[in-house]
Symmetry: C2
Amino acid sequence: MQSFEIDKTDLLRIKTALDGDDAELQEVLKDYHASEIAILFEKLPQEAKERIINTLSTEIASEVISEMTEESHPEDLLISLHPEKRSDIVEEMDYDVATDIISQLDEQDQQEILEDIDQEDATSIRALLSYHEDTAGGLMNSEVICVNINLDKKGALDEIIRQSEEMEEFYTIYVVDDHKTLQGIVSIKDIIKARSEAKVRDLVQADFVYVKAELDQEEVAKLISQYNLTTIPVVDDDMKLLGRITVDDIIDVMEAENTEDILKISGVSEDEELSGNWQDAVKSRLPWLIVNLGTAFLAASVIRQFTHVEEELPIIVAYVTIIGGMGGNAATQALAVTVRRISLSDLSDRQTYRTVIKEFLVGLINGGANGLIVLIFAIFYDKNPMLGLVLFLAMTGNLVVAGLTGAGIPLILKRVGIDPAVASSIIITTFTDCIGFLLPLWLASQLLL
Amino acid sequence: MQSFEIDKTDLLRIKTALDGDDAELQEVLKDYHASEIAILFEKLPQEAKERIINTLSTEIASEVISEMTEESHPEDLLISLHPEKRSDIVEEMDYDVATDIISQLDEQDQQEILEDIDQEDATSIRALLSYHEDTAGGLMNSEVICVNINLDKKGALDEIIRQSEEMEEFYTIYVVDDHKTLQGIVSIKDIIKARSEAKVRDLVQADFVYVKAELDQEEVAKLISQYNLTTIPVVDDDMKLLGRITVDDIIDVMEAENTEDILKISGVSEDEELSGNWQDAVKSRLPWLIVNLGTAFLAASVIRQFTHVEEELPIIVAYVTIIGGMGGNAATQALAVTVRRISLSDLSDRQTYRTVIKEFLVGLINGGANGLIVLIFAIFYDKNPMLGLVLFLAMTGNLVVAGLTGAGIPLILKRVGIDPAVASSIIITTFTDCIGFLLPLWLASQLLL
């Protein structure tokens, strides 16, 4: 099986069916999984999407809207539907998904949707809307299977079957006491296997990993990945069970965090939508470029100080650009390794120290090796061994600076609590440009003129 | 709860306990989860790790070794253990984890381990070893819960309980016919809820997503994420069930693929270990830097062609470095967005076309805006409006080239089947350096001299 790609044939088929009557459309839609229809939606105009949603059963329609990516704006589709259809769809959704979609609407539209739906659902969604979207609370689903610790096998099984009626799938069963305080977890397997007189109390695993609702979603992702969990319970300060986060929610968080990292390192604003239009791309990138223009002027002002060197040794200009550029590249290498390492695990003091020493040594060796090549070139092509020596020293020095800043700046940012990924290659390159221009020109003015 | 970080206190506690007797050590180890001991292992010498593993129960020891990261080389620890202890530990492991660890050893050590363990386990692990580690087969676990489609409720439940004895957790139950051909899936919930005379045949969901053993792991990850699956069955060409892949295995794949992307874009060899030593870092990065040194010479040779311009207009050198550098940064922005977008989903022809047009427009606007700033600077600081015009045109031109190469090169690579992430900023920057040096110098020679 291959992952589903939007194919012209599929799109054409849907478009042709849209020209026909509802029965025809329904027949064609039967061939597609809800998540496939969600992908096709990316290519269809608003009216077509509304018509399809109205043709589908509430169950499938709700799945399709749940599967739509944030960038295809499921909230716009939802709000445009007939209030009755809309309420049916929202009531069918998982609370966490419904909350994510509704949270994108303005206050008034949110209220309109919530007033129309079943009151119990509305209360749950309102509670979820109160958590910040980047925290465990914003990520959790409040629908959990949860049994009282005093139940016996039969009572627990009945309760599980009753509660699971509304859920598509469940993994872990949570055990609470009479005050709804979380006591542990129990697996359905252990309940089935237990003797009929067994109580939940005898089967509960009291040693489990949980998170508070305020915990940042990145920390939740680290915990789930570190302890290989399928699901993690979310509690309030009194250990009352609020909901659970499942591993598939975490996959979306990880994808988003990774996209953010790669964009920030490259000097793109973290909220640029990958498939966004050019106007948004300009808004996201131009500020960084203008900041960089300022720093480039700074670097270029170094060159302005040494016009006397350039006049006497015009060839040095070509070499200066090489040394500046090489420093930028080496710094980007050190930066990528360090940022990725920090984002996967937290570094101890000793690890931090060793990372900086490592990048210093890497800079020294790589700078020396590249410096040697430039030295040889200057001797044989420009017939100027002293120039070669100047370039060798400048290249080595600049690559050491590249290693130290590429690793050091994200590490320092992490210490002071700033996201290390904002130490984009654009900022680090400023250092290596300045040093890369200054070193050869200053050494030349000292040793050659 | 916070994710576990290696703390000096924990390390000191373990080290002190290592000086004491086994009972003392056991007492201290009780306070740590298996995955926490695996993290502490990163900081402990080989003898200490062996001693701890020998002190722990087989069950916990097996979990600890399973949780060790690839970079802490669990295979070295495993092979150093007493053969009897080692066999007990391997037999306790999930087949897919055992296979991953054993596959890192040389042929002779692999045979030694496999000859010592239970024959059924050895056969399963040998079968898994035959799949390439980057495919569905290399990722799957062959331990699945699987029932015959002709069983009734009681028979199915008995079978599930019997098969689940050896498994820590299970999600989906697979249904096969008498020829072991996969017929569908069934949830434990549906079996429990079914009337006692129901057959598995009545409960099976015949519409499910599966993969062939040869499918690339990245495709498996896309499927699991696209269809929000917890687990996916792996089959051979005759639809015989071989095993299953769970979502937590996919998290590790995603982490690894993301690390690869970020490193490749930054010109670091994809297999550099993030916490590796400086010698390996030099080996991984120096080749890229030397390639770049060649391309930098190419770019610098452009400058050598225009020494007459520099002599008559020395100030242009400072501006040339600004325009070259800005082009590199804009190209890195376009590259990051495009590479990340490609790695999350496949682009249609139309999307490809629109991406290139978008980056062209972004380059035009961002280039024009930055060109304007430089133009103003040249007018007021250098009192040279014609120089300003030259710089404006050169900046705009270079940022258009940056957008087109930053988006175009990864898109072309993808089309011809090369990983687009290797279009590292180092390679893209060569284009913008050459054009960034050529444009202002050539325009100046035409318009100013």
